[in-house]
């Protein structure tokens, strides 16, 4: 028996590298978005928004490549699972880019010297750091086909979810000053975006685990009811 389908194998590897390379672009956008947020840098925020076209372009390119591969090569078994998983993954990558855009759209609304609640600002930066770690973890998990790493990234998501709920609570308690409440509300929206980035990272890990096991299993279940005041799940 001779090994066959070398060109097909190379094309599949190219598509996977391209899809997972989208996560590097997300990390870059996330870093810039957090920097723009911390420095209230509207120009940098505008750059991130404009740059999202590159992530959207990557989505279209990977999507088309996978459709062509399915049409021409009819992958089955692990190859089919990988093709399906990459279709999901590139969609998540595109949405993660959109969350960075959403954060950057809030930056011009903050003004030059908003009233900052330190407890909220610290948590936002921590969420940004964790979202970055999760995004990198998702890429490593997919590249190494590691179910164990998928579970680690899912466990990290519990922390970012808890911080999101903390910020919600702190925003509610932000006092009666209009400007402070406006800033805190914006931060609540930023926290929501970062929490979604973490969710998308976990979704990608679920796809990686699916490629390995052939069974789809949710690593975190957002549908489970969770108190906004306590608990680590959700």
């Amino acid at each position: 028996m001779s090994e066959t389908r070398q060109a097909y194998q190379e094309e599949m590897e190219r598509i996977e590298a391209s899809a997972l390379g989208g996560l590097d672009m997300v990390v870059e956008s996330l870093d810039r978005a957090m920097m723009a947020l911390a420095g209230r840098d509207a120009r940098l925020a505008a750059l991130v928004i404009a740059d999202d076209d590159r992530i959207d372009g990557r989505y279209l390119e990977v999507h088309q490549s996978i459709l062509t591969l399915i049409a021409r090569e009819a992958p089955v078994a692990t190859d089919l699972r990988l093709a399906a998983a990459l279709l999901h993954t590139i969609r998540h990558v595109e949405r993660m880019g959109d969350q960075c855009v959403n954060i950057c759209k809030l930056v011009p609304l903050l003004g030059h010297a908003p009233p900052v609640v330190d407890e909220i600002a610290e948590r936002i930066q921590e969420m940004g750091r964790l979202a970055r770690v999760q995004t990198e973890g998702a890429k490593r998990c997919f590249t190494t086909r590691s179910v164990e790493l998928a579970e680690v990234v899912a466990a990290e998501d519990a922390v970012i979810n808890r911080l999101n709920r903390d910020i919600f609570q702190l925003a509610l308690e932000a006092g009666t000053d209009f400007d402070t409440r406006e800033w805190a509300t914006c931060m609540m929206l930023v926290a929501r975006c970062l929490e979604r980035v973490g969710d998308n990272a976990v979704d990608i890990c679920e796809q990686a685990a699916f490629v390995v096991t052939g069974l789809f299993r949710e690593l975190s279940d957002a549908s489970r009811p969770v108190s906004l005041r306590s608990g680590d799940e959700g």
């Binding site: 028996m1 001779s2 090994e3 066959t4 389908r5 097909y8 009819a74 992958p75 089955v76 078994a77 692990t78 190859d79 089919l80 699972r81 052939g214 069974l215």
Partner: protein, 299 residues
């Protein structure tokens, strides 16, 4: 081997069909007839159902060459089972053992058991013709009788085995309808069968096979000589036929197995490597060799 409790008992091995021709008087036969495979053969073939086939410890040889090595496999009634595997893996040989075609090749022999429900088709003294009437076969290349008309091609099997009850014309028409060919040939039934297109010829062969109302239809790469449209027509026909027959199809076409088969068996070097639901074989096979083969990485 687990016997189907609904199947006939091993003792009742002679034909007991409600519309069978009356038995010849004793004076007409010099000795007792060979036992035959029992067939159900109700008066309306649209109500017939297939029967399960079970292979148990099946070995097949060509002289000293061991082509099928101890296969245990159960083909469910009224399901389509695909047999896949690289050339020379023994899949066609295995299928030809089911209706005892294998033993027709000089030097070839088979060992083990092939059960039709719970009747062993290798039981000593069993009438081989009755086995092949109960288990029909469609071959790779359409092989209508070249000198016969379309009508006679379908009627040939009935004339050989004896048309039971229903008039011949009606049986031929019903078979051609069942094979999805009637509308295309009803106005030229007495034209030569060899004048049909390849796809039509193959459906004619299917009509000839179902005319004798088998329980099981074996198909050995039935579409390998057909164009894509003719292939899809035969595949649609297979899906329609499975409500009345148990179908076993040998194919090299992975997509065909994926499209038509409820279950798929993968063979390699005469051994059964993996058998399971088709969706599982093509999305998440358990054996690495199956994975490699269905992904086209060897073969």
């Amino acid at each position: 081997m687990t016997a189907d409790p609904n199947s006939v008992s091993q003792e009742s091995i002679t034909v007991t069909t409600p519309d069978a021709n009356p038995p010849l008087p004793d004076s007409a036969t010099s000795s007792a007839p060979a036992p035959t495979v029992q067939t159900e053969a109700p008066s309306d073939p649209t109500t017939t159902t297939g029967r399960a086939v079970t292979l148990s410890g099946l070995h097949a040889y060509y002289g000293t060459q061991h082509a099928v090595k101890g296969v245990d496999l159960a083909f469910s009634a009224n399901k389509v089972t695909a047999i896949i595997g690289p050339s020379g893996c023994g899949k066609s040989t295995m299928v030809r053992c089911i209706n005892r075609m294998h033993e027709e090749i000089p030097g070839a022999r088979a060992e083990g058991h092939v059960l039709l429900d719970d009747q062993d088709v290798y039981a000593p003294g069993l009438d081989v013709v009755s086995v092949r009437r109960a288990i029909g076969m469609v071959f790779q290349k359409p092989n209508p009788f070249p000198t016969m008309s379309i009508f006679d091609n379908v009627a040939a099997g009935l004339r050989l085995t004896g048309s039971r009850g229903t008039p011949l014309k009606e049986r031929v028409e019903r078979s051609l309808v069942g094979a999805g060919l009637w509308d295309e040939v009803k106005d030229r039934l007495h034209s030569p069968g060899a004048g049909l297109s390849g796809g039509q010829q193959q459906r004619l062969c299917i009509a000839r096979t179902i005319a004798v109302e088998p329980d099981v239809i074996l198909m050995d790469e039935p579409c390998s000589a057909l164009d894509p449209i003719a292939t899809l027509r035969v595949e649609e026909l297979i899906s329609e036929l499975k409500s009345r027959y148990t179908i076993v199809i040998v194919t090299h076409n992975m997509q065909q197995a994926g499209r038509v088969a409820d279950s798929t068996a993968f063979m390699l070097n005469g051994e059964l490597v993996e058998f399971g639901p088709t969706s599982q074989i093509f999305t998440n096979p358990t054996d690495e060799r199956t994975e490699q083969y269905v992904s086209g990485r060897f073969g």
